[in-house]
Amino acid sequence: MTLDTTLLAETPEGIAILLRPAGAVPRTLAYALDWFIRFIAFAIVAGVLSSVKGVGVGLMLIVYFGLEWLYPIVFELLPGSATPGKRALGLQVMMDTGLPVTPSAAVTRNLLRVADFMPVAFAFGLLAMLLRRDFKRLGDIVAGTLVVHAEQVRLAGALPQAEPLAPRMPLTRAQQVAILHLAGRARRLTSERVDELAALAETALPPPDYAPGRASPPPIRPGPRLLAVAQWLMGQR
């Protein structure tokens, strides 16, 4: 069992798309933000309409109805698939297949908010989110939707430049992957930490005094030597 909460959705082309479901905390914050936005919108409308008797009160109730039920549906069907609150927290609603949310699913998940609210203060919805690996509330389960973090986390960037260096011995694929991953993350780490981690791979790295066909002697510290090997694995000769 993996520790992270990512989900894989397979596409018809046979590739897997990585989804990152959003947990209870960002979703609660997004809901609170949406509630605040709707409150402000209603306060403004009410302020304008309260001067009109009769029709004004009726329109006010209709606006309230729209803000309560149509606001999330409409925003989730627009490009971006998120209410302003979700957008502010970088969340997005999609089908659990990784596809954009369909109109009927958007309607279902938002109408069933009533069921999530029961018995008080979204208790059922919160319970469902806490019990499930994909953080779905009841409405999401029924509609087959998922609230995800829209942006992917980038832990690894491009490899730092280095003069290539052949490894001491042929490397297995797992060893190559480990070296490339560490090199990809090197920019996020201090050089001392890279040295520490690279020292674990010392047996795979060429010794500092061995460099056939190389103009300058290889670096002494293990970190730069690992980056050099990574460049060699990338195909630089």
Partner: protein, 349 residues
């Protein structure tokens, strides 16, 4: 030795950049140049010069291949991550639903909604029985003993209903104050709230829907029975006859849709409970649309027509009968023989 990551990136990066640019243009709402139409008998291949959407689809498939290769060959993380982001974006674009138009709305109104209601006939029967029984039992009990109304409704509400339909009722029936627009807003809020509760309560094994529908039946029966014993039956029934065609139908429909959800949880058949629930939700979503529209129609009628005291009760009964006939004909007959449901709207079976 196979292709190194550097060679791979150098060779295919132009394609990735082209796809990225195409997606950016689509996001900004500026579609690329229109695709050249294929000549008769011509098939699209890699060599066919295409632009716009067709080119993006072509690039997307190529990038999917590149991603699969990059993962298989364990290329560096940043390369794989770039392809992952790119394919995920294109996937969202390409498989987006394009049928937001009026065509699908037409199909929903003409075929899918009444067919979905008919597919719920057994759930509907149960809900109607509960509703009608509740009305009859309380109605008859109240008719025999008017004090029985106090077991269902409190005295304050009874006085309010008396003011709305009784001898002292003003020119507007069914309300103590407020004008037509105000009441329209109020009715939408109130009735939609009740129906959504009937629907969503169905998740509690279906019992919730039955309880909600039964409770509303009790209220209606008690008030009707009470007003009949007071001799206000004409005022009351001429008020409710028209909009009840839509409102009572909507409440019963929402209850039946909720019961269907509960049924799916309780007896999922050969599916898992979640799958059964999702299928039930797909099948009932046209019904949800149906009762939602009916509630808005009901609120409009209730606010602007039913309450008008100057219209003769006979006219209201006539129009009310027409509305009831219309609702029954629509739900019972419309779209029969059309094969769109459930294969189309019902989704995967």
């Amino acid at each position: 030795m196979s292709m190194t990551p550097r060679q791979f990136e150098a060779r295919y990066e132009p394609l990735w950049v082209e796809l990225e640019r195409g997606l950016d243009a689509l996001d900004k709402g500026k579609p690329g140049k229109k695709a050249r139409k294929l000549k008769a008998g011509e098939f699209q291949t890699e060599a066919t010069p295409v632009a716009g959407a067709a080119r993006i689809a072509q690039l997307y498939r190529q990038c999917c291949e590149h991603l699969a290769l990059a993962r298989e060959r364990a290329y560096p993380v940043h390369l794989v991550a770039r392809l992952e982001t790119l394919t995920a974006r294109a996937h969202q674009r390409i498989y987006r639903r394009h049928d937001f138009g009026l065509g699908s709305l037409r199909d929903l109104i003409l075929y899918d909604a009444p067919a979905a209601v008919r597919a719920l006939r057994w759930h509907l029967l149960v809900v109607v029985l509960v509703f009608v029984l509740a009305i009859l039992v309380v109605g008859v009990a109240t008719w025999f003993d008017p004090h029985f109304v106090l077991t269902v409704v409190d005295a304050k509400s009874v006085r309010m209903f008396d003011g709305m339909y009784g001898q002292e009722a003003g020119e507007h029936l069914g309300r103590t104050s407020g004008d037509d627009w105000q009441m329209f807003g109020f009715y939408i809020m109130h009735n939609v709230g009740i129906s959504f509760q009937c629907f969503a309560a169905g998740l509690m094994l279906g019992i919730g829907s039955l309880v909600m529908v039964g409770y509303n039946g009790l209220l209606f029966g008690a008030i009707a029975g009470f007003l009949v014993t007071r001799g206000d039956s004409e005022r009351f029934f001429s008020f409710v006859v028209t909009h009840s065609a839509f409102e009572l139908t909507a409440i019963v429909l929402s209850g039946a849709a909720g019961l269907k959800l509960g049924h799916a949880v309780l007896a999922p058949g050969r599916l898992t409970r979640t799958q059964a629930l999702m299928r039930a939700a797909r099948e009932t979503s046209p019904v949800v649309f149906c009762f939602f529209v009916m509630l808005i129609i009901a609120a409009a009628i209730e606010a602007f027509w039913s309450s008008a005291g100057w219209i003769a009760p006979g006219v209201k009964y006539g129009v009310g009968a027409c509305c009831w006939a219309l609702v029954f004909a629509y739900l019972g007959l419309q779209g029969r023989g059309h094969a769109a449901f459930p294969a189309g709207a019902g989704g995967a079976r």
